[in-house]
């Protein structure tokens, strides 16, 4: 600092400072480590949870479990003292039918909302809608279940002249509405990722807005939209409270949308509390848990891969 004639006069032959690790260098390394821990903690939790449910389910899987019975029979009588049966076919059908109807509800709503927000809405409408869609995502699932019991139930009875309104339609519509926000926001991200120059190039040819969307924007955003739908499937599939409250929770292979069903998730929620830890029943419920984990994992993984466009490798 003393007698620098030029601001650039400095000792340019030494590298002392290039080898001296100052406080900033150590802080940088420390922070990197902390962030690394944060980053891998997700992996640790996933592995930990999977190890836990596998451990709890293993006792049942290695002794009583029979894949044929488990997946292809519909008799679930785990608390029968003499002849307990562990068939989840009815629950698989219940979960599948409710999830399917949920997607029928959610896809038009969410894609419509995403296209409107992304392509048609003005600045203010867009911001307002995005906030509202996010608010919809913040409604607790027990509140949806409550709506299922006290609003949808009487409404369905009155509309369709059925004795009870707790069924696939009830839970499916609610699940669809619940999955709509996440699907809307992922789908909107996908539309936003389509470069504006595509739209401009198509508009410059005289294409109408809908033609631009239908012919250019949607195909370009195809992977992202598919990913959005898959994430919605994962969301509906894993949801518990609504399906517990609104499906009727009856073990039954449905042959009409107005049949009551029972979902895999709801079974665990309803029964685990009354089960002796370590019993066959306990292990069977954890085996359902493993199944749910694996399916949800696969759905989310494929959604992720599709969103990233690593499809067809």
């Amino acid at each position: 600092m003393s007698d620098r004639t030029s601001p650039f006069a400095r000792d340019t032959t030494l590298h002392g400072d290039c080898d001296r690790r100052d406080a900033a260098w150590y802080i940088d390394k420390g922070v990197e480590w902390l962030l690394f821990l944060g980053g891998i903690s997700a992996i640790l939790f996933i592995i930990g949870i999977f190890a836990f449910i596998t451990h709890e389910g293993m006792g049942f899987i290695t002794t009583r479990f029979d894949a044929g019975e488990f997946f292809t029979t519909q008799y679930w009588t785990p608390s029968d003292e003499y002849d307990p049966e562990y068939g989840i076919l009815a629950m698989l059908a219940g979960t599948a039918s409710v999830t399917g109807l949920a997607m029928l509800t959610a896809i038009p709503f969410s894609l419509g909302a995403a296209i409107y927000i992304g392509e048609f809405a003005g600045e203010r409408a867009r911001e307002a809608l995005k906030i509202l869609v996010e608010l919809l995502a913040a409604i607790p699932s027990v509140v949806w279940g409550f709506i299922g019991l006290s609003v949808m139930n009487p409404l369905l009875i009155a509309l369709f002249d059925i004795p009870v309104g707790l069924n696939i339609v009830n839970a499916g519509i609610l699940l669809g509405l619940m999955a709509t926000p996440i699907m809307t926001s992922i789908a909107e991200d996908a539309l936003k990722a389509v470069p504006d120059r595509y739209r401009e190039a198509a508009e410059a040819m005289g294409a109408t807005r809908w033609q631009v969307i239908y012919k250019v924007v949607l195909p370009a955003a195809r992977n992202g939209l598919l990913g959005a739908v898959l994430l919605g499937v994962g969301r509906a599939f894993g949801e518990t409270m609504v399906v517990l409250m609104a499906t009727g929770h009856a073990i039954n292979i449905p042959d009409s949308p107005f049949d009551a069903v029972r979902a895999l998730t709801a079974t665990i929620a309803a029964e685990l509390g009354e089960t002796t830890a370590g019993s066959d029943h306990w292990g069977a419920l954890f085996t359902i848990g493993i199944l749910l984990f694996v399916i949800t994992f696969l759905i989310n993984l494929s959604a992720d891969l599709i969103v990233r466009g690593i499809r067809g490798k």
Binding site: P7, R10, D17, R20
Partner: protein
């Protein structure tokens, strides 16, 4: 003239971006306090070369650097504190990057990060660097405005002021005039003229006239190879040894 130890010496530098080879076996030496220009068409490897000089490859995916780069005679891969090296090498990128900070903070950021705390000292650094970058008169009354509000040419001069804020020994400019108008370009070239006695300047340019105006020596890169290096004037006066250099300088391809 006494031969000086090179400021930067590059031996057998090869750079890959994944499969693509950006630079093949380039060796050259840059002398202290010279203005060294690298010319050549797009994809000649100029930017990759500049990136390697302050080890920006560490942050660039799939960029692999083989060979040796000596800074003041020292292999930069063996430095224990890479960040200190970056403080000694200022970089100006092709597009002006006004950080989302005030004009003052844009220039004061580097010194602050390096530990300068005194307001008076920071004020002095900011004024000195903005004057060196020929921007002071235009912004002295609005130092607390955001840097991003400046015009493109002003932002590029702000970038230069920021690059100078840590009194670097080397200033690297990668196509600094690509996004600014000719008048601002001329102003920045004047700035570089004034800085040439203070530090070593390395610039890459697709404009051969810019290299001719500024550089003491010029290197011609083509397809990742350094075809020829020579004193700028003789090179441009038809003294190029390689036919490809001559053709490029005559504007017959590129």
């Amino acid at each position: 003239m006494v031969t000086q130890a090179p400021k930067i010496q590059v031996d057998n530098l090869t750079i890959r971006h994944g499969e693509r080879v950006a630079l093949r076996d380039v060796s050259l030496a840059i002398r202290p306090n010279e203005v060294f220009a690298i010319i050549g068409p797009a994809n000649a490897g100029k930017s990759s070369f500049l990136k390697a000089l302050n080890r920006m490859d560490l942050f660039t995916d799939k960029m692999e650097v083989a060979g040796r780069i000596l800074f003041n005679g020292r292999d930069i891969r063996t430095l224990r504190n890479l960040y200190a090296l970056r403080r000694r090498i200022g970089v100006v990128f092709p597009l002006p990057v006004g950080l989302p900070l005030t004009i003052y903070e844009n220039v004061a950021l580097g010194p602050k990060l390096a530990g300068v705390r005194e307001r008076a000292e920071l004020d002095a650094i900011v004024e000195r660097c903005l004057r060196l970058a020929a921007l002071w008169d235009e912004v002295k009354d609005r130092l607390n405005d955001y840097g991003s509000l400046l015009s493109g040419g002003q932002q590029q001069r702000l970038t230069i002021a920021r690059a100078l804020s840590q009194s670097p020994e080397v200033l690297i400019l990668d196509e600094f005039s690509i996004a600014i108008d000719p008048i601002t370009t001329m102003r920045i070239e004047d700035v570089l003229e004034q800085l040439r006695s203070e530090l070593t300047i390395i610039l890459a340019s697709t404009s051969i006239q810019q290299a001719r105006r500024l550089a003491d020596r010029t290197a011609f890169f083509l397809d990742g190879r350094c075809i020829e290096i020579g004193d700028t004037e003789p090179l441009f006066e038809g003294g190029a040894r390689d036919a490809r250099t001559r053709r490029y300088l005559e504007g017959r391809f590129g």
